[in-house]
């Protein structure tokens, strides 16, 4: 499967703590994107990192990409209860056109 894996499948933390989610994949990519999904809703794009980039920041989000290990991580700093959601990584596979391949997601719960 080209889907790859997200790790952990579920994560529960206290408000104010940092949350780290990991994504591994198997094929070469042009870029990798992270999306968020609130319960029962559509996905919302968070951040995109290109294959020639190693790290990217957006507000409280930090994404890293290691193409040699075929892995990426999403760090949410100073988490809030409103960050409770599922997080998905999606890869634009080399030669795959504009299609994205999504992982199975990490369910994050941030408790007060």
């Amino acid at each position: 499967s080209q889907q790859g894996e997200e790790d952990p499948q579920a994560l529960s933390i206290q408000e104010g703590e940092n949350a780290t989610m990991n994504c591994s994949y198997k094929t070469s990519i042009n870029n990798l994107q992270w999306y968020r999904q609130n319960s029962g809703r559509g996905l919302v794009h968070l951040i995109l990192i290109r294959s020639n980039e190693r790290e990217k920041h957006s507000g409280r989000l930090r994404v890293t990409l290691d193409t040699s290990k075929k892995s990426s991580s999403l760090l949410i700093t100073a988490s809030r209860a409103a960050d409770t959601a599922s997080y998905f990584c999606a890869r634009r596979v080399t030669g795959g056109g504009n299609k994205l391949t999504f992982g199975t997601g990490t369910q994050l719960k941030v408790e007060l």
Binding site: Q3, N30, N31, Q33, Y35, G40, R41, G42, L43, V44, H45, L48, F88, A90, R92, G97, N98, K99, L100, T101, F102, G103, T104, G105
Partner: protein
């Protein structure tokens, strides 16, 4: 803001019925996608379209067809619904470029086939 709308949030159909799921986007995007989302399986691509009247199969096209007669509208058709097609269906759109931009998603349609 890009807006992607789907015709229904919840839908209940009977086995054997023909089901139409409609998706409309208002940002003149060339690409449109249909996914299904099941617990533990993530999002799986059913079909996508990169232009009017153009379509390509995704990873799981069996039992589905699509129609794109206008740029803003992409329909998913279940010719004869079956219980294993009970799922959350998500539509998305994006620009068609050499450098992939993000996809914009609709709110989803939760379909139950009884």
């Amino acid at each position: 803001d890009v807006k992607v709308t789907q015709s229904s949030r919840y839908l209940v159909k009977r086995t054997g019925e023909k089901v139409f799921l409609e998706c409309v986007q208002d940002m003149d995007h060339e690409n449109m996608f249909w996914y299904r989302q099941d617990p533990g399986l993530g999002l799986r691509l059913i079909y996508f379209s990169y232009d009017v009247k153009m379509k390509e199969k995704g990873d799981i096209p069996e039992g589905y067809s699509v129609s794109r007669e206008k740029k803003e509208r992409f329909s998913l058709i279940l010719e004869s619904a079956s219980t294993n097609q009970t799922s959350m269906y998500l539509c998305a759109s994006s620009l068609r470029t050499e450098i992939s931009y993000e996809q914009y998603f609709g709110p989803g349609t939760r379909l139950t086939v009884t």
